[in-house]
């Protein structure tokens, strides 16, 4: 499951990334200006990740899809 993790601005994002990977977060990617992480994790590990120091919230990623180019409303 692809997730987005909002990291508390008070905490070093690299430290939080390390903590999350130890708890099962894979393919971690950082958004340095937004102080956020993304990654892949099994759903049953999400509660443990939520409780990690420095993690403010964790949610599943969604996809966006705009209508086809010949649609009247886009």
């Amino acid at each position: 499951m692809k997730v987005l993790i909002v990291v508390d601005a008070k905490y070093d994002i690299e430290n939080v990334r390390l903590a999350c990977t130890r708890l099962g977060l894979e393919q971690p990617l950082m958004l340095p200006n937004l102080h956020m992480l993304s990654g892949v994790v099994e759903s049953e590990r999400i509660p443990a990740l939520s409780g990690t120091t420095g993690v403010l919230s964790i949610e599943t990623q969604r996809d966006f899809q705009i209508p086809p180019p010949d649609s009247e409303v886009q």
Binding site: N33, M36, F64, I66, Q74
Partner: protein
């Protein structure tokens, strides 16, 4: 045989109908010559035919409820369904091939100058400018009437033509399907691009949506052809390709784009995308709200579409993600009669806690740039089109007020909106009203 039909529902509540100036009746459009079978279909659905008045009739009579009247030569009719008849009417519209459209009847009135003086002045000024140009070129005066307008209705109605601002040196990011860099209208502009879609292609626009939105927000003062359609004609454009050639993108692509825009010190980010809200969803995404707040702290304002689900029976029509984030500037769509577009998402009791739009922008029949291999220009509708109107005007505000960014820029834009007719009946649709250029 029509290829597609337009079928639009009349809202159920009298308040919503009044806010949108709908009578509750329907206008049915059908192929010419097909009135006998349309009439047969309506009679079979238990509607009754009204009798047309004699040509020399001195008084008119109202159409009784449950009746219809067809105008044979025009291929148009009016139907007033009784409660319980609406479903049958819609079923007939779907199944009868000769019916091209079924739409709510609008109540129209003369434009009130006190409300739309700016609109009329804008139209006057653009007509004068066009007339002077044609007369200087020794064209026949009658050509003025047939000539295209000097600017799109959206730029006229939002006071852009009267603005002395160009958007320079504001940095405006558009996160979308990319931009056609070969389009002649974007020559000689400061454009920074970045591709966030991992499809191993160079930066481009394989769809058109991104080129259209960039055109509205930042298109040229003098396009290579046709009317002016762009607002911040001298801003610095930052184009992030976050949606692929099928128009699809994930949260991470979009957030990467926002992260990049902040890193580039952009003042504004225009986001004409969203995912519909469905019951069970939280009122907003924690991730997008955090992103929006962190952007504001960095002096960057996110301008986001409210979404286009209000006409779609599978959704409740609430503002989608990320438009429903409290800290973004959320944009609804109006048409050129100042009515709320029927597709424009809004605040609704079916989505408790989900914010409504903050303001509205022109979002119906919007002409703007399009990839060269798709015809160079196109007219389409959507809150996607209203959003770059607000982003472009926000760039003009940012230029006019060098110390005002982020939340204070958002507040300034909202406090300068112009009121729309029946505004107090449709705050849930239009928020503070129509965006207005400084």
């Amino acid at each position: 045989m029509p290829v597609s039909k337009t079928i639009v529902f009349v809202p159920g509540s009298p308040e919503r109908r009044a806010a949108r100036r709908l009578s509750g009746r329907y206008i049915v459009t059908f192929e010419q010559g097909a009135h006998p079978q349309v009439s047969t279909g309506l009679l079979a659905a238990n509607f009754r035919a009204a009798t047309a008045l004699a040509k020399d009739a001195k008084t008119a009579k109202p159409l009784p409820r449950g009746h219809f009247l067809l105008l044979e030569h025009a291929g148009i009719g009016v139907v007033d369904p009784l409660p319980g008849q609406e479903a049958d009417l819609h079923a007939l519209a779907q199944s009868e091939n000769a019916i091209v459209a079924l739409e709510p009847e609008r109540i129209v009135r003369a434009v009130n100058l006190a409300i739309s003086g700016d609109y009329v002045r804008g139209w006057r000024d653009s007509s004068i400018a066009l007339a002077e140009k044609l007369l200087a070129e020794d064209q026949a005066v009658s050509a003025v009437a047939a000539a295209p307008p000097a600017a799109t209705w959206g730029l006229i109605m939002t006071n852009v033509l009267q603005s002395r601002y160009s958007g320079s040196p504001i940095k405006l990011a558009v996160l979308d399907t990319g931009l056609d860099l070969a389009h002649p209208d974007f020559a000689n502009r400061n454009i920074t691009t970045q591709n966030f879609v991992g499809d191993n292609t160079p930066f481009h626009d394989g769809v058109g949506h991104g080129t259209h939105c960039t055109g509205t927000s930042a298109g040229p003062l003098k396009p290579t052809q046709g009317p002016r359609y762009g607002i911040a004609f001298d801003c610095d454009i930052f184009s992030g390709r976050v949606l692929d050639d099928t128009g699809r993108g994930g949260d991470f692509n979009i957030l990467q784009g926002i992260d990049w825009a902040i890193g580039q010190h952009c003042d504004l980010v225009s986001l004409s995308l969203g995912a519909p809200w469905v019951p069970g969803d939280p009122p907003f995404s924690q991730a997008y709200e955090a992103a929006a707040q962190r952007a504001l702290t960095a002096g960057c304002l996110l301008v986001v579409a409210a979404g286009n689900d209000a006409d779609d029976p599978q959704y409740v029509g609430a503002v989608g993600t990320p438009g429903n984030s409290p800290s973004v500037l959320t944009v609804a769509a109006i048409d050129n009669t100042m009515a709320t577009a029927s597709f424009s998402n809004r605040q609704t009791p079916q989505a408790p806690g989900v914010k409504g739009p903050d303001l509205a922008g022109p979002g119906v029949d919007v002409y703007s740039s399009w990839p060269v291999d798709g015809g160079k220009y196109r007219t389409i509708s959507g809150t996607s089109m209203a959003t770059p109107h607000v982003a472009g005007i926000a760039a003009l505000f940012a230029q006019a007020n060098s110390g005002i960014r982020g939340q204070s820029l958002k507040d300034l834009i909202l406090s300068n909106c112009s009121d729309l007719p029946n505004a107090s009946f449709r705050r849930d649709e239009i928020g503070h009203g129509l965006v207005r250029a400084p």
